[in-house]
Subunit: 246 residues, 2 copies
Amino acid sequence: MNAEPDSVTAAILVIGDEILSGRTKDKNIGTIADYLTAAGIDLREVRIVPDEAEMIVEAINALRARYTYLFTTGGIGPTHDDITADCVAQAFGVEIDVDERARAMLLERHKPEDLNEARLRMARIPFGADLIANPISKAPGFRIGNVMVMAGVPAIMQVMLDAVGPTLRGGAAMQSVTVEAKGVPEGTYAGDLGAIAKRYDTVSIGSYPMMTPEGFRNRIVARARDPEALAAAVAEIEALVARLTA
Amino acid sequence: MNAEPDSVTAAILVIGDEILSGRTKDKNIGTIADYLTAAGIDLREVRIVPDEAEMIVEAINALRARYTYLFTTGGIGPTHDDITADCVAQAFGVEIDVDERARAMLLERHKPEDLNEARLRMARIPFGADLIANPISKAPGFRIGNVMVMAGVPAIMQVMLDAVGPTLRGGAAMQSVTVEAKGVPEGTYAGDLGAIAKRYDTVSIGSYPMMTPEGFRNRIVARARDPEALAAAVAEIEALVARLTA
């Protein structure tokens, strides 16, 4: 199923060497994916890139042009490898400097004499951006155009997502129904399932094998924005499974 | 730190609507990342795309041109939404058909009368590819050119990675040393750490905040292929932390 022309779409850009080296296992992709699905926004693509300006800028520009929204995570701390804000400014062709609103937020946590050059990096915001509050450690994220720039630490990313999420335009929520294949092997129902998928072109139908101690236990998931089409497709899938388990 | 000209690089392409919807949380990226790091191969980029031919083909061609190796996961089962093999063939401009070696593998698990059209989809292999054995459920992955096509089910992906991994050209293994920042805030050491990173341009130095019940506990990780440069940089980082905790 292709994205419908009126659907609201999104991409995620995860920034950080630590994810690519395997040292840190990403948790943010799954969190954002769940959030967007519930909001009726189609997550269409994810990229993970290292802390390198050229790759970050290229990915920002490719993804923000292609989708309704782009969410980035990571690279907005105080250290030399935190270059996301500069890359966003470069991608948009705007200036970046210490933002007084962001400085005020940092002063809620740090004494003025502790607000050294490194910490002030966290207040550097591209011109024209709106801040995204961070109740946990105060250093804000920001939104510029259709790009939401968030922290990489999962707990902070979560509060930023909660803050910015309600400002986004949602689509009709995607509804999904899962049909348990009850031990019927994928290869047994694949032909008939493909025929059903072909008939219901507004319903996205997937088959997902899972290994369990009892062998493969497959699930068939049907997803659609149109409840009637969804119900009709699910009825056919259930009839198929019933026929094969009779 | 940019990838050195003689380094061996890789990308991962995760294929599947179920990851983008959040229904399934990916585990393969972290597994492959760990494996590549241990083998001295630099994972440089990851993309996740839906089960749509145009996006899959575009990503395969972008990534295989840019990196030494490309690993794909997902989309090689028997159902209609399993289109990875066809997309790989299209990306390489080669034909695809049932491969007799792959059919023989499937016959180890399925009776000939059960090898229906859907199951035979799993034996469709692009011309010129080498098979990657799958001891668990028999349906093979394959390698064509610099692209390794593997299953999405994590246990099967793992055995395929174990099978194909030893055939890859590894680089000098990246070594890493972690220095505990012992509660020193990132903003306190960021300036000096950045100066160290600038002096050691063959050493990749990152600072990673982690939230714990006791507040932020940061880790500084230095990574390099050159053990002498790594040791020298680590000595400076340790001296910096010692100075700040004295």
